[in-house]
Amino acid sequence: MQPANLLLLTIVCVLVAYGVGYARSRSLAMPLGGIRHLKSLPFYYGARAALWCGLPALFVLGLWVAFQGKVIQTLVIGSLPQEMIPGNEGEASLLLSKISNVASGALPPSFVEAPIVDASERLQALREQSRFYMSALVVSVAVLAGFLGWVRIRPKVNARVQVESILKWVFFACAALAILTTLGIIFSVAFETVRFFDKIPITEFIFGSQWSPQTAMRADQVASQGAFGMIPLFTGTLLISAIAMFVAVPVGLLSAIYLSEYANKKVRGVVKPLLEMLAGIPTVVYGFFAALTVAPFISDLAASIGIEASSQSALAAGGVMGIMIIPFVSSLSDDVINAVPQTLRDGSLALGATQSETMKKVIFPAALPGIMGGILLAVSRAIGETMIVVMAAGLAANLTANPLETVTTVTVQIVTLLTGDQEFDSAKTLAAFALGAMLFLSTLLLNVVALKIVRKYREQYD
């Protein structure tokens, strides 16, 4: 049986276990005089039987699926004649793919040597055996454990407590999965980054002011040496993020103030969802808006007052990105401003302060830490944004602070480094990981700072 079918079968077993568990607890309750004489509700007995049935079976299934490939490979390679056993890992994987291609019929047996044909037959046989044993084991575990769970239903057993504690571990496993994924990403990026620094010195990467990652693909190819200085990319990122925040922070903050302090309920009910709709527009749409509408407009405008502007400018990308980020700032700030107790507003108004004085002198300072947290989150968003910049800001890594010139950002370069056919261990490809690691570090730092500020804010009043 295929693992997917087996999974379905297990799920069926689990449902059956739930059903019979539920039924058994009810029938046990009957002679006692109703379900209130059970320690727990029938639902919990059913759920306990289901968990007994499902969890061990799924565990066995998972383990089997995880390890069967490796075990079968080792067995197949071990059975090859002495002279064909591969010396290193690369050869081994080549040989194995040949064997499995023969086994699946993609490669006619007449094209390869006899031992490989033998090996492919053995592979086929082992796979079938494995599938059979796996099915037998999983089904028997499910049935046995389910039966055990069913038998052990007694009116005195408190199934509720057991189900609750099992569920607690299930939830924990889900949370752990998210954390493990993050760790996995960090390790894979860190690993490739270290490999990159073997090829390019870390000092050159961090302090270099030239970025041109085009290196020779083959040894005999005539090409530039390649320069991997991240400074132009990070200045580009900073420039575009700064422009974006320059647009997003004032507009977002002031609209939040309007919404929370001045707008009446009706206006708020209309404007707030509309503003939040900005966050729902796909970034690629913002991208072509920036590239086709805003960028030409800016370059025309600059030309009309006699300034030279590139048709792809940091200003266009940053400005449109700023508009995209407005709802982040406004929505978070609105929440924070609304969280300031009404008694503080009343206190200030009762002293004869106007609404804007109250805003400026009482509410804004009280909400400031929270607003700062929101802004920092928005900054991380701006730094990580790719699509708008790809489309509107260009690819040229200029080291410049002029917003009318073409710049590029870290994320855009990662995209261009990794798209297309690449050798996976070239400095060019690995550079993407190094950039990713740097980006990750900087946004992580920002997020930590933002969280710290938000936490501090919680202790402000009350």
Partner: protein
């Protein structure tokens, strides 16, 4: 029934007011004749002259045709069951109800013969003259000094730092807080005890030298010792200010006020000398309330 201050929530207010009205199980409503108040509602030297005041929350009439004078330099206490409209009425006196969209005030309300609800009336000036202290101490999350200096700064009452220092010191002295805080004026006000915070709020209100101070259950969040301090303070302040105090404690009303007004379901039932209200009330409802038969 909780004594929810209408100022606490912006939107929950109306619902709260309604719920409160339903819960008051009073003798038949027919006893109250609208717009009539027994006792002595008017004064020879009125600071506030309030005639036929009605307050609506949307369709609901929270205050029903109330006429009352508040005399110069008198302390008047508003008592009555929760949801009877005391706080709503109090908040009309410095237009704090303005911030509630659905709240409409009708009738004539005059401070020193000037209409409070005139459309040309400057609310800032009104509130500078009519200060307010709230149920829950609400110091700003700033230093003690900045809390007291807040009002004077807004109204430009001090030209120099030294003048501001004097105002802060005087206000804190009047509020009986100076000796406790003079060494830590830069400390955050939110770190003080509840009683100190409330006296700070009183100092903050005094700092803009108002003529009237409205107090909305100023002691309901305080312990008995802090309450005693605040009551002492009210007695001292009564020499120079007109004070309107909403309270749920009849002992407090008896201790601090000259006159007492009894509110019931949006009606002003009786106004009399405090002594008279508590010893020989004229209206049956007042008597039921002060003897604890409902409320």
């Amino acid at each position: 029934m909780s004594t929810m201050n209408p100022a606490m929530t912006r939107e929950g207010e109306m619902a709260d007011e309604n719920r409160a009205q339903e819960q008051v199980e009073a003798p038949a409503e027919t006893i109250i004749e609208e717009g009539t108040t027994v006792g002595r509602p008017f004064s020879d030297d009125p600071k506030f002259k309030l005639r036929n005041v009605e307050v609506f929350y949307g369709q609901d009439r929270a205050i029903k045709n109330i006429s009352l004078d508040i005399g110069r330099n008198e302390v008047i206490a508003f008592i009555g069951p929760s949801g009877c409209g005391k706080s709503t009425f109090l908040r009309c006196l410095n237009r704090m109800n303005d911030s509630i969209d659905i709240c409409k005030v009708k009738g004539s309300l005059a401070l020193d013969d000037q209409n409070i609800y005139d459309s040309k009336r400057d609310v800032v000036e009104l509130r500078a003259r009519v200060g307010m202290v709230f149920q829950k101490p609400n110091p700003f999350p700033k230093s003690i000094y900045d809390n007291v200096a807040y009002g004077p700064r807004i109204h430009g009452l001090a030209n120099r730092k030294s003048e501001l220092d004097d105002i802060v010191e005087n206000s804190l002295r009047k509020a009986g807080l100076w000796n406790e805080v003079k060494d830590r004026l830069d400390a955050t006000a939110t770190g003080m005890s509840g009683g100190q915070q409330q006296r700070l709020c009183i100092a903050r209100a005094i700092a803009v030298s108002p003529e009237v101070i409205l107090m909305d259950e100023p002691c309901s969040a305080l312990d008995p010792i802090a309450t005693a301090r605040v009551e002492e303070l009210i007695s001292e302040m009564s020499e120079s200010y007109t004070i309107v105090i909403v309270t749920h404690s009849m002992q407090q009303a008896a201790r601090v006020s000259n006159r007492t007004a009894y509110f019931h379901l949006g009606h002003l039932v009786e106004v009399n000398e405090t002594n008279k209200v508590f010893t020989s009330p004229e209206h049956d409802l007042t008597e039921s309330y002060i003897t604890g038969r409902f409320g």
